[in-house]
Amino acid sequence: MNQLIQKLQKEDRRMTRLIRGVKIMYLILIPIYTLLSLFTPDFTLVQRGGGILVVLGFIAFTVLFQRRINEFNSVDYALPTTQMLSQTMKRYKFWKPELPCALLAALLIDAGLCLIHVENFTDPQIRAKLLDIQGTMLPALLIGIVIGTAWWYLKHKPLHDQAQTMLNELMQE
């Protein structure tokens, strides 16, 4: 029993450290990017706007990360079974509001970075570089979506369907 408690406490500490680490990273990046966007002397208004878009993307990711952590922490096995099953279904469903928000956040960062460099867009080298970035970013995003979908299908869909079957059976009159 003591071994188990030590393991549980270690796991709690590991999770707390991980969450704190990621939050600190975002909380450092957000002010730095905000300050850079607003106070870099050479920046034009469009570039400052680009910087703000990057910051908004970071903020969106921070909020999404916090929501995910809250969801993870709120898994409560002491709820009545019907409630626990409904929560499981919600947790493992494919289409969540977070999904388009995460895509939007990625696009905000992408658009922001483009705007920061847009002043030099007439320069063929910069233009080629920007197009290169887009050429990498969009397929990467697509691959991410495909991997995420496959992951959900293999790992989460069976749990979702199982919870749904059990809940349907319980709610059957």
Binding site: L8, Q9, Y77, T81, M166
Partner: protein
């Protein structure tokens, strides 16, 4: 002021038998049962901070044990087997609503276990709570249904078991 560790130790010490019994219902082998118990303990630890005493501690423990067992069994629902170590008289309760001294005969035990294993995992969960001698009101609170709904479901399960056993009995007579 007690620490989380002290509260956890006390709850586990007070309810160890209860937890082990529920896990045994769902796990056919000792090793599976031990793994399931470990998972129940982990979930008790995780849920301990949220326990406000709104429900009785026994109800709270049963909810965690049943929900964990359903999740655990759900991973390999086809392989899930319900193991009953209860005595014959206790099993008799499952097919006798007025709880008189209905006793199964020895040969019926295997048949009963086979029949119980034909039930869905949800029905098995309900059966496990009946075997724990819990009143309908507490079962309803654990599962999250109304008491009349639980009564209807239990009645149907018992009816199914009774009919299956009757068929077996008829076959024996032939």
């Amino acid at each position: 002021m007690t620490t989380k560790e002290e509260r956890f130790n006390k709850i586990v010490a007070d309810n160890e038998k209860r937890i082990r019994r529920i896990c045994r219902y769902y796990a056919p082998f000792e090793q599976d049962s031990d793994d399931m118990c470990q998972e129940v303990l982990v979930n008790i630890w995780k849920s301990l901070d949220n326990f406000r005493g709104d429900a009785a501690i026994s109800t709270w423990i049963y909810r965690i044990a049943v929900n964990t067992s359903l999740s655990f069994a759900g991973r390999s629902v086809k392989q899930a087997r319900f193991r009953v170590d209860a005595d014959l008289q206790q099993l008799g309760k499952l097919i006798d609503d007025d709880k008189s001294d209905y006793e199964l005969r020895e040969w019926q035990l295997d048949a009963m276990q086979t029949q119980i294993n034909q039930l869905s995992i949800i029905d098995k969960a309900l059966i496990s709570l009946v075997l724990e001698d819990l009143p309908g009101k507490e079962i309803a609170s654990i599962i999250g249904l109304t008491e009349p709904n639980v009564r209807v479901k239990l009645h149907r399960i018992k009816e199914t078991l009774r009919q299956s056993l009757q068929q077996q009995l008829n076959q024996q007579d032939l």
